[in-house]
Symmetry: C2
Subunit: 217 residues, 2 copies
Amino acid sequence: MAARAVATERPKTRMRILAACRRLFNERGPAAVTTAEIAASVGINEGNLYYHFQRKEQIVEALFAEFEHGFRDVAAAYSPGADDPRHYRDYFAGWFNLMWEWRFFYRDGAAVDRMAPRLRRHLKALADDGQAQVRRVLHGMAAAALIRASPQEIEMLVVNGWIIATYWIDYLRSRHGIAAIRREHIDWGAAQAMGLFLPYLTPRGRAVVELARSATA
Amino acid sequence: MAARAVATERPKTRMRILAACRRLFNERGPAAVTTAEIAASVGINEGNLYYHFQRKEQIVEALFAEFEHGFRDVAAAYSPGADDPRHYRDYFAGWFNLMWEWRFFYRDGAAVDRMAPRLRRHLKALADDGQAQVRRVLHGMAAAALIRASPQEIEMLVVNGWIIATYWIDYLRSRHGIAAIRREHIDWGAAQAMGLFLPYLTPRGRAVVELARSATA
DNA sequence: GTCTATAATGAGATAGAC
DNA sequence: GTCTATCTCATTATAGAC
């Protein structure tokens, strides 16, 4: 959300290009959007586009840098030791919001990988951090008596929860033919992921689910 | 597995093309494999390739037809009313085998969709049938006292299990950087999906998990 | 059925004027 | 920074000889 102007940088067109690409990529995936289309969408000439980004790959990399910032912000939103169910609800909602804002990275992972192979190690590092963070949060929920689960069970929940959240958007496309993702579809995914935790919730923990269900975000 | 020669059909080259494409697509995705590469891989000329398939899209469609047969075979392997844990183990292993043999359809869903849009409704119909079948199987397991779960809980398990199974391969790529999928990775996925059921298993049901773990397939 | 051309396309990318 | 014009190139696809 913040402007995030990097030092000497000030060009407005560059930002408009990135904003347009994020929108277009989220709609149809980076592989299906041509540079001509991007330029037209921004209202500039294709040559001008190549002044700002010499390779299409660089656009993807620049967008990834933004995504990375958002990712780390979401991960950092957890307060260790928290025992208010609302805190956990907000934390998980943060992940689904991020997923919504950068859904092409989730839905078109294979295409992104082919297009910008240098991102692979960054993506992996990001997933490492994010998953470690979710693991800490689940242990925190166990400590706060919101869930009752062994370390092995928590490990299973981390991985399965990660997969459900990550691929929910593509699941909607392939299973329900939903191409235009709306906010309600993301909320639906959050509820589906919650299902994983149901058998492990303590009475206090059920409050997290109830709060999430009644949230209007 | 069966020859599946369709009536008047007998050309060997066509089959070699399809076999090569299945291998290449599984390795790197249909979008990243060119017709020149396919022809070279088969050991024929590119013009000859276009004699057999006028459009690349038709190759994908022909492969999908094979996949569809395999899919329905797997779905049909369930014996209603079975209460032998081994039957359920074999049934679920069948799904993961199919996933292994046709992994590009799972991993590159978006690319397949762009390349052969006519497949969309077929894919959806297939997923409808498959999921309905898995639902029946879970109800069967409940009836056989292998799991104890309400209809709502079964519904959650069907969807979450479907997602874990479907996207396991891409998860390995994005999370662990595994590009070359091997059989052991598929077994790992099956074990991960099993984690979903753990809280719902009856003592008898645990035998399914134990059997799956000790299976060498 | 298979080959040797070669056409047709369309995408990414560059040069240089303004 | 932005534009016009052009290039390169990979890829799909076709025509026609053998």
